[in-house]
Symmetry: C2
Subunit: 479 residues, 2 copies
């Protein structure tokens, strides 16, 4: 292939300059582009297709747990934000504010939703009247906006896409059960669809959502040793219900204040996928979210029957439900190999004259570099379907091994600092005092991630102040 | 059923007060509620599920014609609007404007997208460099905002949901082909999914989209004799490409300006469904968008085996891919019958002791009032699947008959006025002069709807001025 147009990967070294690697990969594989306004992104078709695959598979789980989707207005009267004191404190500085329509000033300014608790609660106050109206189990897929000083595509942008569940329950127990149930839905989804293992647990007071009684999170370990909060589930207790005067007539004939939850994941999950699975060759996409699962590349395309066979194979694979890209462009096979490798396509299928003669296809996995096998054309859809599951499992296992390697039990500040410097979660004990979280953040730029449900102690003293410890907790540097 | 809790339909008479009937139906069936801000709506789960069904089936068609989805920022720099003169004139008065973030004033004001041509063209100017980059075939599902003075849920609200396709082509011919192709996709979708016949044709200069070279529309006839524009497809020619300096290097080595299209449908389609198919008993939903296709109602539920059989039947129907609501609540069967009738569920299945004895279910169609049949439980999923298609066909046929009855060929202003007073499209000839459109609007509040592709004349003089006619055209009162 001497005449081959040279493929220019042009991606920074993943181990030497991870932030540059990330930027190179997201731009050069066509996932995303920068929008014209500061801090915005354009999600290009290759990136948006990942989001569509996330959406459809997560939406199924959200519905299977009894929730329905709805849509609430994007602009929220400013006065609504003021009703819950912690909420306004958390969000007011970063909301985009609409003050006019055309040339006309608005009587009350409106904010672009940074999240929808307030406007949704204003409707729930109307809809919830009796115990018969409970539980309310509603989810919304929407765009939201929060101004950010430093932004990165998918990880932190002023506008992003997400889903936000908002539920109302008769009792505190039910609300807590819902909060944990949805956290577990996220963790299961991350495992079985994104091939990402998550640390689940409760956030500290300092790190919880503005207005929540308790926040729980899923946290994942990125390639560079930083943690990424990938989803949250909040138990609001009665805070918003009181602020918005939501009440229901219970079976016993008395009026009661219900309990609420909310939970969400965002386009940030795409960032997690990139940073967990990516490698020196570019993206490596988990099969169940990959826009293209199989790239079919004809080799010696000019030879009789090759292009036709490649078409036929592609059609068969598509008919079996696989997402297939058949590349008949005039780029060289080598160029195409590089292209689909950089774009993280899980499987490449090569069809050449010799393959056709032997009734096979040459199959190359993205997750195990350099491993080439042949598979019979007969039954190829079934064997590739099985292979995609195998690839998924292998990617999950690699990610899990990396996570486990990067959890280090530590007892004091020196050990913790060494752990975060080494790109690890420090699993340690904490007294529960916010001052210790602040001290740790100041000393080593690490934050508390969450407190795992398994609270079996790994010591008895606080990692920071040395006083009696109350909680087992993860600290890490984080996005 | 003497103890039956009385069902209160409480919906205005569809023939006496259609606007009130519409409001009653959309609120009381739980499709929608008014948002807290003027002109906004909350799409409740029952309404949003219709939108999800529209989305998934239209999205398949958009993808099958080669388009991919993407997502562009919602806030557009105000300066972008100014670049295309007609576009800014059309949209500037109704845009919601963001002037600050938190307490900080923005250097340049931003507008909430009323449509996305400008921001998308700003990106296309970057992405389109060579003939190899063409065609660009991108679609976006998003929310948009346009201030409206008088609003009605689904038909006209300040915020609505839609899809907007935005394509770029090397030649004028390709752009025109795309424009018509997508118009036809909408018409086919309306027929086969919404059971609504559409009049397709070209808009006049006066009624075209702000910035388009030519606009085409699908128009449907509502129950009250008014037309509803249900979707549009625009050929932009080179207008936006020139305004945004989009250029490509063609095969012949010269730089050329490409041609563009855009096309969209909105949540307004839900309004069309309601107003085409609804009747004196409430909603009547076409099977392929109905959130619930089959309501299973046990009769004499307290009797042994009835509830269990209803559950078993429901499970079987669900397993076959039908959308089923099993109602085991303690409301009376009569109450449930009324409820699902008002909510427009296409098929009600009653399971009572006698049915079980006979191995059948009692089946009631929503579209043919009062028609009860029995179907064997054995093979019920298959027979109901076939029945849903039959219902769809019957609903389409009824709507088509109504449309045909309401198209009247007219020759002069008196005939046209009588036609629109009778709730008809006036199909007539027009000289092409905007003054005549204005005169017709002033005299009888009717507007030109579109000029059908079949231009076989129905006369030779303009309906208004009597001069030589150029175009065959539909006029009607419209939403």
């Amino acid at each position: 292939m001497a005449k081959e147009k040279e493929f220019v990967r042009d991606v920074a070294d993943i181990n030497e300059n991870f932030p540059q690697w990330y930027t190179d990969v997201v731009l050069k594989t066509g996932l995303v582009d920068y929008g014209p306004t500061k801090g915005t992104m354009v999600i290009r078709p290759y990136g948006y297709a990942i989001w569509e695959n996330i959406q459809s598979q997560l939406d199924k789980r959200i519905k299977a747990t009894g929730h329905e989707n709805a849509y609430f207005p994007m602009l929220i009267p400013y006065g609504f934000l003021l009703k819950e004191a912690e909420h306004v404190e958390g969000f007011a500085p970063e909301v985009f504010t609409v003050t006019s329509v055309g040339e006309e000033e608005l009587a009350e300014k409106l904010v672009v939703r940074p999240t929808s608790e307030t406007i949704i609660c204003s409707m729930y106050a109307k809809w919830v009247q009796s115990y018969r109206d409970l539980p309310v189990l509603i989810n919304q897929w929407a765009n939201v906006m929060r101004a950010e000083k430093t932004t990165r595509p998918f990880l932190r942008t002023s506008e992003f896409l997400w889903q936000e569940g908002h539920t109302v329950h008769a009792t505190a127990e039910e609300a807590q059960e819902e909060t944990i149930k949805m956290l577990n839905v996220y963790a299961e989804f991350a495992k079985n669809v994104l091939a990402i293992p998550m640390l689940t647990g409760q956030k500290t007071e300092r790190e919880k959502f503005a207005g929540a009684a308790a926040t729980y999170s899923i946290e994942a370990m990125m390639h560079d040793g930083k943690s990424l909060q990938a989803g949250t589930s909040h138990n609001f207790g009665q805070k918003f219900a009181k602020a918005f005067d939501i009440k229901f007539l219970d079976k016993d004939g008395t009026h009661k204040t219900p309990y609420q939850t909310s939970w969400g994941v965002t386009t940030r999950l795409i960032g997690a996928i990139i940073m967990v699975h990516g490698d020196e060759r570019g993206l490596c996409l988990p099969p169940y979210v990959a826009p293209v699962q199989v790239a079919v590349v004809p080799v010696a395309m000019h030879k009789d029957g090759v292009a036709d066979k490649a078409k036929e194979v592609s059609e068969n694979l598509r008919a079996a439900g696989l997402r297939v890209k058949l590349d008949l462009s005039d780029n060289s096979p080598g160029w195409k190999f590089n292209e689909y490798e950089m774009k993280g396509v899980p499987v490449r299928v090569e069809i050449g004259p010799r393959d056709i003669e032997n009734g096979v296809a040459t199959v190359v996995r993205r997750d195990k570099f350099g491993e080439k096998t042949t598979l019979p054309l007969d039954g190829l859809a079934e064997s590739l379907t099985a292979l995609l599951q195998e690839i998924h499992d292998n990617m999950y296992q690699k990610a899990e091994e990396n996570l486990n390697k990067r959890i280090r039990v530590v007892k004091d500040m020196d050990e913790l600092e060494k752990a975060v410097n080494d790109g690890c979660f420090g699993l340690t004990m904490w007294c529960g005092d916010e001052d210790c979280e602040i001290a740790i953040k100041e000393k080593m730029q690490a934050t508390s991630r969450n407190m795992p449900f398994d609270q079996t102690p790994v010591g008895d003293k606080c990692v920071c102040c040395g006083k009696k410890a109350k909680y087992k907790i993860y600290f890490a540097r984080a996005y």
